[in-house]
């Protein structure tokens, strides 16, 4: 008799026991939903958390990525040996033409300065660069960003533009102490005010996670042809004006697609642009870090 009652009691409590067994799991799932909502609404908390974890993981990822980069470099060297002679010849020709361009550029720069002085134009703010290395890609098909090993300690600020030798790479989206995340111009969330260099028409470069971001909000009367250079316009005060972004790749039904100058799979060394502080401020602030930044 007692045994029968025990059996039926167990059968009654089984659903409750199953729920209690699964409760921690359901709690965790609920926690992820809460985190997603909080991350969307209260972005400062999410940013701080992300910055802290990135700071912690950055040295580790950097260390792990070095062998990969080194072996890739080695393979590159081996394949380069094959084309050494032709490359040398073409490089010599490029150097010669670049020296010519350098002379022209210097002449134009001094002419520019004297003309600006003549017109009493306000001089551009002094610009400083911080060099950094990319240590991690975004590991996600839907997010286009890279991690670099420069952060607050190096003088980087949120929103600073990031460029490399070829053109504009993106902007600093998240800032940590030792590392920060760069939102590339091809990312879904990237919007950059640009100019078509030849016609000076203003537009917005909108990324959409493909390798060819789109040019939007161009006036319908504007004439844009394939091969036109696109540069930053400097509107909004984020990017210095005149930085090269890319050329018009195709003009078609799905909009105007830009071919960026930057080769994304060879993105290793970048420079973060930050505007220098105006003359009087360093004395007021007087801290050594600012002096260090300004001395560069």
């Amino acid at each position: 008799m007692a045994r029968l009652r025990a059996g039926s009691f167990l059968r009654l409590t089984t659903p409750v026991r199953l729920f209690a067994h699964r409760f921690p799991f359901l709690l965790l799932v609920a926690a992820t939903l809460v985190l997603m909502v909080i991350g969307r609404l209260e972005t400062s908390f999410a940013e701080r958390l992300r910055a802290n974890v990135t700071d912690f993981a950055a040295p580790i990822v950097d260390l792990i990525s070095r062998p990969v980069v080194a072996s890739r470099a080695l393979l590159g060297e081996i394949s380069d040996l094959a084309t050494l002679r032709e490359e040398n010849q073409s490089l010599r020709a490029t150097v010669a033409s670049l020296q010519q361009s350098k002379l022209t550029a210097e002449r134009l720069a001094s002419e520019n300065e004297s003309l600006r002085a003549l017109l009493n134009l306000v001089p551009d703010a002094p610009v400083h660069f911080v060099a950094a290395r990319t240590i991690a890609d975004s590991g996600n098909a839907f997010v286009r960003s890279v991690l670099i090993d420069a952060g607050r300690h190096e003088g980087v600020k949120r929103g600073d533009p990031v460029i490399n030798g070829e053109g504009v790479v993106g902007r600093i989206a998240q800032l940590g102490n030792r590392a920060s995340r760069v939102l590339l111009i091809t990312d879904w969330n990237s919007r950059i005010p640009v100019l078509v260099e030849s016609s000076r028409e203003k537009a917005i470069l909108a990324g959409d996670n493909t390798r060819h971001p789109r040019l939007r909000y161009l006036p319908s009367t504007a004439a844009v042809a394939q091969g036109d250079r696109i540069v930053t316009s400097g509107h909004g005060g984020v990017f210095p004006p005149g930085l090269p972004i890319g050329t018009v790749g195709s003009v078609g039904e799905d909009g105007i697609r830009i071919q960026p100058f930057v080769t994304w799979n060879r993105l290793e060394f970048v420079r973060i642009v930050n505007y220098g502080l105006k003359g009087a401020l360093p004395d007021l602030l007087g801290d050594s870090q600012t002096k260090e930044i300004l001395r560069k």
Binding site: L35, M36, A46, I135, A136, G139, F142, N209, T210
Partner: protein, 171 residues
């Protein structure tokens, strides 16, 4: 009694293998390999670890660990916080609840059910991102990612199986 201590330490370190495999895959996901468009189609590697270990040794990869791996992946990859954590947890829950049917099946069956589970995870990722941005996003990066993930599963499953036979079986 030093012998049991070293024995227990040995066991403990061996039992960390599933967790460590997931952590290694986590780092492999974010390291820049400088392959053209790698970042666009990087497969969901930690998903394979969660699926395999959740199926065969869920005692060594409990739910809170899966949650933290997903969270770390979110924080390192730039995805919205909680996205991969939730997806990995749901995959883990699905797999653990279906262990009864899948545990003693052949590899092909396990792979086929991984394809189904990974499809669910990919759709969930795309839907969650579209919902968070409140726009319908282009799913094609996710599609490439999905096919690469299911293609890589056999190699990774082989590695996990070897780990199970060598590191975890020795007692």
């Amino acid at each position: 009694m030093t012998a049991p201590f070293w024995y227990r330490l040995n066991q403990y370190v061996r039992n960390l293998a599933p967790f460590l495999s997931a952590v290694v895959l986590l780092f492999l996901t974010v390291i820049p390999f400088h392959v053209p468009a790698y970042a666009a189609i990087v497969p969901m590697l930690p998903l394979t670890a969660v699926y395999y270990w959740g199926l065969y040794r869920s005692d060594l990869l409990p739910a809170p660990v899966v949650f933290f791996i997903g969270l770390a992946l979110d924080l390192l990859s730039g995805a919205p916080i909680g996205l991969n954590a939730g997806i990995l947890l749901l995959v883990y829950g699905t797999v653990v609840s279906q262990r009864r049917y899948l545990l003693h099946e052949s590899f092909s069956v396990a792979w086929a059910s991984f394809m189904v589970v990974a499809a669910g995870a990919a759709i969930l990722q795309w839907a969650a991102l579209s919902l968070l941005d409140w726009t319908i996003r282009d799913p094609s990066p996710g599609v490439f990612q999905y096919f690469l993930t299911i293609a890589l599963y056999p190699c990774l499953a082989w590695v996990y199986a070897r780990t199970q036979k060598t590191i975890l079986r020795q007692a």
